[in-house]
Symmetry: C2
Subunit: 290 residues, 2 copies
């Protein structure tokens, strides 16, 4: 793997900070520049070793970059990608780490420079925590990263984006942006909504009797409200469809319970358990492949 | 703490086996007798050090016991408690580890010997795994154990039950059986039903893109179908009420999403997050108290 020159990270929080730590620890790039709105947070990122230097000016941060990774909230990504592509070199690769893809890719591809530079990406890694203080060098190790190139994306940018995310430890797969959003509505956005509903459904007076099932079932409800409100709205239609699937499953259980239908509950549970087991098997296969 | 004489464990699976391991490792009792239906599994429990000896005859296992702990599935507990109380000594303490309490306590208290010997208990510890092979000596360390004595329960039995579960490492609290079942419907049975619905809602083709939120949100869906079908049916009415609370939360989210209501989603999420944070704070307080 060839060493990269300058990588600019736009938005140096948990994800952007972890990218910076991995790049610097692995000697994957010559220089890591952080771009953010707050000089205080940029200094924190520098002190933690996530970036070599920081700037609040996108144009300045991008000027000498070979690669720009946009790690801002999903509602801001398209504008930041556009901004970077507009002022960066003709050879610039721009990628991102947003949890949704369709609208971002559509918005970026309206502009020739964005279309020429951008490969949408979503590394399936994260945490319910926020901020560069929780960044981890190994956050991407062994994780899937979905790239969402389209017919308009230059093949050499796809190749370089693959190289970039692979160097961070990701197993790279490609999907079209619409398929990405449908799958992630089910595998990530739905679980987040369900976790929050579960957290809120248990009244305070019952919490002292909550244990492992509540703890794990609600973990991601500790995530940031602003980030998740944006993700839900960006992926509204696929998420509504995912909620339908979930409600239909829970309604089947409820009906069997109302009917005192032991066989119905049992077979419903076994089907759910089989899904969960297939998920565990996939994870085992992935570990073997690593 | 005075050492116990003989403790009989009826049902030597994950829970019963963990009790046996803790009793023997801590020298808390002179002898641990396992009672089960399968000699093969009893021999396995003996080989793993969870019991000193095993028998398939309840009367034989209980004959010399000071304490009997019934760890069979919830539908069988009342009959096993009755059986033990009928043949045991007059000083016998019978307790259990069932996830539901109202129906069990009512059934046991119909019989004078059961009423005189029994203190219902529910240690909030467990696992999605089954069987004595997954038993752990420290399973109960720091966990809440809910005792559900009634006006009919002899105070000395409550005192001894407190001593027994405390010796295993539990923090003992008392609740009436109906309150126990209402709280646990919310804090445990609802999270299990939600986990299974979530597991089943995600189709196979999406599973390769599932990560932490799905993994944690569905962990307990790997639990045994028979055990959970029985728990759900035993606690049907409180669980239906808990499902109503959950559905009302998820419906609020869905409506806000349909309405493109960013402020509504944001405030809904913040309320859920606050619940989750109170749960974490309670856990922190418990750790400090330990």
């Amino acid at each position: 793997l060839e060493q990269l020159g300058t990588v600019a990270i736009v938005g140096v929080g948990l994800i952007g900070g972890s990218i910076g730590l991995a790049l610097r620890a692995g000697g994957l790039s010559k220089r890591v520049v952080g771009v953010g709105r707050s000089t205080v947070r940029l200094r924190e990122a520098q002190a933690l070793g996530a970036i070599d230097e920081g700037t609040t000016e996108l144009a300045q941060g991008v000027a000498e970059a070979d690669v720009v990774v946009v790690c801002t909230p999903v509602t801001q990504i398209a504008a930041d990608v556009q901004g970077a592509a507009a002022v960066g070199s003709d050879a610039l690769l721009v990628t991102d780490a947003g949890s949704t893809k369709r609208r971002i890719v559509e918005a970026v591809e309206k502009h020739p420079r964005g279309r020429a530079a951008f490969v949408g990406a979503h590394p399936l890694a994260g945490s319910e925590r926020q901020g560069v203080a929780h960044a981890q060098e190994e956050l991407f190790e062994g994780r899937v990263c979905v790239l969402t190139p389209t017919a308009a994306t230059p093949p050499d940018r796809v190749r370089r984006a693959r190289g970039f995310w692979s160097a961070l430890g990701c197993r790279v797969v490609e999907l079209d942006p619409v398929a990405h959003d449908s799958f992630l509505a089910l595998t990530s956005h739905l679980p987040h909504a369900v976790a929050a509903a579960l957290a809120a459904a248990v009244p305070d007076e019952a919490l002292p009797l909550a244990a492992g099932a509540y703890r794990d079932g609600t973990r991601v409800a500790a995530s940031d409200a602003g980030l998740w409100t944006a993700i839900f709205l960006e992926n509204r239609a696929p998420l509504l469809h995912a909620l339908d699937r979930f409600n239909s499953q829970l309604d089947r259980f409820r009906q069997a319970l109302e009917d005192h239908d032991a066989a119905g509950i049992h077979s419903w549970w076994e089907a759910a358990r089989a899904h969960r087991r297939r998920f565990e098997c996939l994870k085992d296969i992935e570990r073997i492949e690593d």
